[in-house]
Structure formats: C-alpha cells, structure tokens
Amino acid sequence: MKYLKLIRANLFRSKRRTILTVASVAAALFLFVTLRSVLTTLDDAKEVGSETRMVTRSSISIVFPLPEAYYQWLQTVPGVSSVTWSSWFGGVYRDPKDFFATLAVDAETYLPMYPEIDTPVEQREAFMAERTAAIVGSGLMERFGWSLNQTINLRSTIYSPGEEWPFTIRAVYEPTNPSFGDENFFFHYEYLYEKSQFAQPGWYIMLLSDPTAAASVAETIDEHYKNSRAATRTETERAFQTGFVTMYGNVGFLLNAIGMAVFFAILFVAANTMMMSARERVNEQAVLKTLGFSDGLLFALVMTEAAVITIVGGLLGVGSAKLLFGLTGFQGAGFLPGFEIKWSTSIVGLAIAVLLGVISGFVPAWQALRLPISQTLRRVA
C-alpha cells in the first residue's frame, strides 16, 4: 500500500498517454468479449435443439424444400410419435435491415411439439382461429413497438418479393428457454400456401417416442427417400441446429482470428507504452536503487504499473460491454437469441487483461531489474 503513491505518480506522469492506453485496452477487451459472446451464443443455439426431436431436410441443402407428400409417410415410421413442418419465409419489416426469423408452420402440429413457445391460452386460441394471425416473440414486439392485435405488413425475400403480406399479431410468446430466442415470428403455413404456389415444407420435424431410436429412424427415412427426386438427410434437431449455425461459415475461426488479432494489437500498444514509460525514467530507477530499492521491488513496481493499466482498461471494456448489451437487450437482429456477456466470458476477458499486463510489463520490468546503477547514473549525468 505504501508504494501506491509512487505507482500512481508514475502512471500519471503522462496522463494523456496513460488514458489513451487504458482506452485502447478497454476498446480491445470490449470487442473481445463481444466477439466471444457471439460464439458462446451460437454454441448455445446448438443446445436449443432437442435430442428427442428429429429434423428431415433435403440432402442437398436446407434451402431446397421437400414435398408435402412426405408428411403422411413420415408418420408411419416406427419410433416417430408425431410430425410437423415449417418453412423459412425470409420476412422483412419496412426495411431490409429489419430482418428476423419468420417461419410458416403447421400450427396444429407445430405448437404442441414446441413447449418453448409459451403463450396465454386465449391468445393461442385466437391465433389458431385466424389464417393471417401470427405468434410473435416478446423481444420482437419490443424491438418494433408492436402491440397485440396489431396488423403489420411484411415482405418476403423468397415469396413474391415486393408484395406486402398483412399479418395480425394474435399471440405473444415468452421463450421458456432463453436460447430459443424471443425474436421469432410464426404464422400459418396455410396462409403461405394460399398466397404462393411455390410453397412447400422447408423441413419436417418429428417427435420420437423413444430417443434411443434416433439412429434407426434417421436410417429408415433417408434410405426410403434415397432414390427419390428429393433425397433427405435426417438428424437430431441438435445436430440440425449445429448445421444451421455452421451455415454462417467458419464463424468460430473467423471470430477467434479477429480476437487474436485484437489481442496482439493491443499487446503491442501496451508493451510500447510501458517500454516508452520505462525508458524515460531509467535514471529514476537507478536513483531508487541507490536509495536501497531492490531489483525485485523495482520489477514488481513496473509490473504493477502495467497490470493497473490493463486491468483498469479490462474492467472498463468488459464492464461497459456487459452493461451496454445487458441494458439494450441486443440480440443481433434476431440472429443471436439470448445474446449476453456471460460472467464466464467476463472472467476470460479480465484474465486476458491481466495476461496483457504481465506480458507488456515483463520486458521493462526485467530491464529495471537488471539496470546497472553506476553506469546508468554516469550515462545520464
């Protein structure tokens, strides 16, 4: 504690430099925890998928639809207790940037299979009773300021682009699992089918009566459609979600690469600052040694200075990210449902701040430790 005055005085020797370095570390750590949180959110999204639900999609790609006729046969597969389907609508509200997950579903079979979509009974009944009705996540309602029973117009990026599709919001859901997301928009497949002759199920979802039968169910289905015009690929919903996430490309690699680049960039900034700061005061370090400050004490003082800069920067960066995303409820326009800066990510961010301090402070601290007193004093004099 008694050395705090000395550390503080050295840190504020050049206020502007210290503040800019702290700000650089804060900005880098803000970016780092944000990128890492994107990754953890995408990983969590994979966990949304259930192991008891299976998905059958086109073996070529998820963008190719499947025939409606498959529905009947899928119900007969041993081990399958119920079947439903959904179709990607690509809905846009007002402007292309107002994009969110919009799914046309066979409501009668879809909603019972997804207990994650939690709505009041009367709202659900209202939704079921109306062909143009929609169930909307509470986050999406808040994002656009919509209200229950409001009619809104969407456009589709797939079906008749440019045409307005009116929907009436009859139900609002709260996800029972945050990772399911509260920015989804569900409406009746019948409505899609009525307005577009091209409508077909995008994928089928099956509830298994026995989760251990997943492998045999998948094999039975895919074998059955192997030589059809729309061959299938069947997997658990969790595996399907993972595949859906990887549609973004190798996001993990990209984000990790950016994270590493940020780490090294800021490491060089912090190391450069510490080197400059230490070089400016070799004479003072020699004086302190003359007074009896040991090599180890000087090493510790320089290391502490570096650590204070990076830890304060880290706290500001991680803290501001947690606060900002926590308060705004950011969900990446619906593509990052449940996005948050987790405590585990915050701790990793702060650990990196400490690591930055240790690495950036080590060289100047080592130089201070090895500093020859008499030669330094003579050189400076």
């Binding site: 008694k2 050395y3 005055k5 000395l6 005085a9 050295n10 504020f12 020797r13 004479n283 003072e284 004086v287 302190l288 040694k289 003359t290 007074l291 009896g292 400050f293 040991s294 090599d295 180890g296 004490l297 020859p372 007193i373 008499s374 004093l377 003579r378 004099a381």
Partner: protein, 223 residues
C-alpha cells in the same frame, strides 16, 4: 576503530575485449564522524571510488568494510538492503523524482522500512526541518530552485539516519551562494549530528570544509 576500511581496492572496467583499469590497490580508512573531501582531475576515478563505497558498484578486487561488514562480498540483493540502512547519497544533479513532491521524495527511503505512516511523517518533517524546507513539502521539484532541490536531496539522504553520507559533487550544479548554503549544511550535519561524510568535489573551497582532503590521480590516492 575506523568506520570505513578500503583495502587493496582495484577496479577495472571491461569494454568488449578491452580492459580499462581505473585504480589499483587503493587503501583508505575513514573514522566515524569524519568529513572527507575527495579531489582529483576528471576521469581519475573519484566517482567510481564513491560508488564502490556506496555499494552501487562492485570492485574487481579488494575489500570495503563498513562497520564489520565487507560489502565487496555482498550480493546485489544484500547490497540493496545494506544501502537502504547505511547510505545516504547526495547527487550532483539532485536526482529528485519529478512526479513526487518534496515530501514524497524525502519519504522514499523510509518506504523500505517498517515505520508507520505517522512515524515516516515525523522523520520526513524532521529532515525537512534540518534543511530548512518545512514550508516547501508540497512543492514539486520543478517549483523549487536548484539550491532548494539540493536541500531536498540532502533531506532524502539523511532521513533514514544512515551510517554514511556520500556526496558526489553536491555543489557542482549550483551558483556560488547556493553552493555555500549547501556546504554549510553539510558541515552542520557533520558537526552537530556527527554524520560521517565523504564528498567528491572539484572545488577547493568546498574541499576546505572537510576535516581532510584526499587526492586521487592516475590511480593513486594521497592525503
């Protein structure tokens, strides 16, 4: 018994493959309470000898015994601890830390002790009182004159009540009036407080303030 005994002291600097001898087989004895002035031409090794006595550098051969400790045989760590207890060093260019106030500069050696904050404050104020600067405690070095800075430097050197005060041309960067004040202060420390002082100087008038003058020239030390 002498407070400081230098025996067969040699110092050779090595620059690449070149050996540069500074002095060889020097002997020196200083009694407790003595005020010794060390003179000699530039490059004669005065400062090197002072640095060796201060434990800032290590000799090539020989012994430096202060009290009953041979500091020539100490490790860097032991020397640092020894300096903090036994040496008060006064520099020609004051060497105050510009980011600290006069008070904080004087307090620096006491940070290495186990004294409480209050005790440190008492010691600092006493030292500042001895050099006559109790009204300048909150001033930064840039707010002080050269003479005042050197007085702060002296307060820092005496604050931990060291065994030896070593001064390397303490008046070399001062005007005549300030130099006189500093020399008077050193003389007072020697006479009133019985401090043992070794002072390197080029100035004969400064040297005359000491009890004895020694000359170091071409590696030979003479009285």
């Amino acid at each position: 018994m002498a407070l400081l005994e230098v025996r067969n002291l040699s110092k050779v600097y090595f620059r690449d493959s070149q050996q540069i001898p500074v002095f060889e087989d020097i002997d020196l004895s200083i009694e407790s309470g003595e005020f010794l002035a060390l003179m000699g031409p530039s490059g004669s090794g005065k400062t090197t000898l002072l640095n060796l006595i201060a434990g800032l550098d290590t000799p090539t051969t020989g012994e430096i015994v202060v009290g009953d400790e041979n500091i020539a045989a100490m490790s860097r760590r032991q020397l640092a601890a020894w300096r903090s207890r036994h040496v008060g060093f006064i520099f020609q260019l004051y060497n105050l830390l510009p980011v600290l106030t006069a008070y904080q500069n004087v307090e620096l050696p006491l940070l290495l002790t186990s004294l409480s904050k209050r005790e440190r404050r008492d010691h600092v104020m006493t030292a500042m009182g001895v050099v006559g600067l109790t009204d300048r405690t909150d001033h930064f070095p840039r707010q002080l004159s050269g003479g005042q800075e050197q007085r702060v430097g002296i307060a820092r050197a005496i604050v931990s009540d060291p065994t030896l005060i070593l001064a390397d041309e303490p008046t070399g960067d001062l005007d005549a009036k300030s130099a006189e004040e500093i020399l008077t202060l050193l003389q007072r420390l020697n006479e009133e407080y019985q401090k043992t002082i070794v002072m390197v100087t080029h100035d004969q008038r400064a040297a005359d303030r000491g009890h004895a003058v020694m000359h170091l020239d071409k590696g030979v030390l003479t009285r």
